[in-house]
Symmetry: C2
């Protein structure tokens, strides 16, 4: 009877035997309308029908397969509690699209379910306007989602497309392939540490954490060249480990080839910079393997996109990852001994 | 430096200059492996590559469009805090697929992101085993997701397929169309009230809430017959209101035609039963409009599927919904006056 009482409490008294009931947009719908309508639509012809019906209707070009991935971003776990809507949008968008990039997929569309403790218009404005800019830039329309009252979190499901049979998987590495990494891993980890310490300066590191770039364009160019790929969300060693496990192979990494940025070397000691580059997550760079014959072609793509691609090792028979070099002594290396499980989700 | 300290704390000391680092499945991965691997796969040929890579790879049959919808289910809001994993699986699955049914779409695949305060193996076992049964029954493989520590909630993104250009939308109703509803709305609302009151008996009502059936088969048969459709998640009046708003039309409902179940009439007064049928959510029945010429065909489909389909009114020009009948006096009707905003998501 509790429910009936609640129902009766919201009834409005009108004395007519024929009841005229007007539709009233409820809060969820009005917030979605205000902040999340038509995000990224103008950039795409994939949307047959956008949000507002029971489902969005999407078209898929002939001869393409879908790549689909879902990620949750929880305040206090995946980003600091006081993160602005802008930064949350940037990080969630990059993290989500990064999974598409790792498959070589092109962007298609995404959904976003948002949970908030209360309606924070400033946060929503920042979040939605940055999400909108990124959606247009990456041709990735927002086609659905919902809003619920609860702890601040969002769950994004991204859909990408790739020519059928062409997606790059984790399990395709071959012994003898080179191991590549894009960008300068570790920068985002240093950026997060700066943020936590409220330490000023080091804008490039901070921006690596706050505004990572999903490597969609590079991913698209890796189709037909990379034998296996993964994005670095949990740390280079952890993610390369997943790739090698799927390929049932091992790798030898040359630590002195790690592309450490000038910024990270100003921020941390050489040893700490290597630790960050190997274990810190949040970079959303690509780690992939490719036969040596594609070396030149890859370097041309890197130049063309203005994105560093560095060969940091080689795939070999065996299990796990072995590392050497980096100019470190045995003692330093032993202090560097790493647990490569990366970020613990649970 | 905080991050570096954390990183260094998890390092394991090994004295070798070449570090062998074994991949260790972290908790998230082992939970997913234990409970969520291959759910529903055997039932589908849509999955080219399942979970375990950066994305799942899915194939879409030629000439079909995608229908996509995302829903969040939060403990204490969308289901009682002490709900078993079985019931949460049933309700979330039905609520999610119901959106596909409302478009006339067939099932394709889904992702599920789960947030839990701690690893509750009993709950996970119940949840995943029921989800698995339903996935097989409805040919709806689970192709991705993730697990995060946080308040109990899940966000499901469902993908359906329908012949291109054939999806049933909310906005297609025509004046003169009949208004239909499947099943006996209100039963789930009564079931929820029973659950909250810890009142025994009324198994059919309880089951309507705990184990709603997504009307996928009926939805598929409505393609080409229904002019507009929606599923009843927020209440018949609220959801029919959305359909009419999208169609820019009104409807006249005959309350004495409402298909009230025997159970709900034993549970509640006639007036309360009507209130529940009109305003309680959680039924996941279909409400749709169709030209009178399809009356016989619809009735054959209903008989074939063993699902009641009832014509409860007619679409007319105008706005809102008018109601009459139900054997209620003016005073009773005025007490019944309803706010049709349905469930308030925010």
């Amino acid at each position: 009877m509790v429910l009936l009482m609640v129902l009766l409490m919201v009834h409005i008294m009108v004395g007519s035997p024929e009841k005229m009931i007007e539709n009233m947009a409820d809060n969820e719908f009005s917030i979605i309308e205000q902040y999340f309508s038509s995000i990224g639509w103008q950039s795409s012809n994939a949307v047959v029908l956008g949000p507002g019906d029971d489902c969005a209707i999407l078209s898929v070009p002939l001869g393409y397969e879908l790549c689909v991935s879902t990620d949750t971003f929880l305040s206090g776990i995946h980003f600091p509690d006081d993160c602005s809507g802008t930064i949350v949008a940037q990080r969630a968008f990059a993290a989500s699209l990064s999974d598409l990039a790792a498959m070589g997929a092109s962007t298609h569309s995404f959904t976003c379910a948002l949970t908030m403790p209360s309606v924070d218009h400033e946060w929503l404005r920042d979040f939605s306007s940055r999400l909108s800019e990124l959606s247009v830039e990456f041709k990735m329309p927002l086609v659905g989602g919902n809003m619920t009252r609860g702890p601040l979190s969002l769950t994004c499901t991204v859909i990408g497309i790739a020519p059928a049979g062409q997606c790059i998987r984790r399990g395709g590495a071959q012994a003898g392939d080179n191991v590549y990494v894009s960008g300068s891993p570790g920068d985002a980890g240093a950026g997060l540490a700066l943020l936590i310490d409220s330490r000023p300066g080091f804008d490039l590191l901070r921006s690596a954490y706050e505004s990572p770039r999903p490597r969609i364009e590079m991913g698209e160019r890796l189709i037909g060249l990379a034998s296996a790929a993964i994005d670095i969300s949990d740390g280079l060693l952890a993610d390369l480990g997943h790739l090698l496990e799927a390929s049932q192979l091992s790798a030898e990494l040359a630590l002195d080839k790690l592309p450490l940025s000038k910024s990270i070397l100003r921020y941390a000691s050489h040893q700490d910079a290597i630790a960050l580059a190997l274990t810190a997550g949040d970079d959303y760079e690509l780690c992939f393997t490719a036969p040596d014959t594609y070396k030149h072609e890859l370097s041309e793509h890197a130049k063309d996109l203005g994105l560093a691609l560095t060969c940091i090792g080689i795939v070999v028979e065996g299990e796990g990852i072995s590392m050497k070099g980096g100019g470190l002594s045995d003692l330093e290396l032993s202090n560097l001994e790493l647990d490569d499980r990366g970020y613990q989700h649970f």
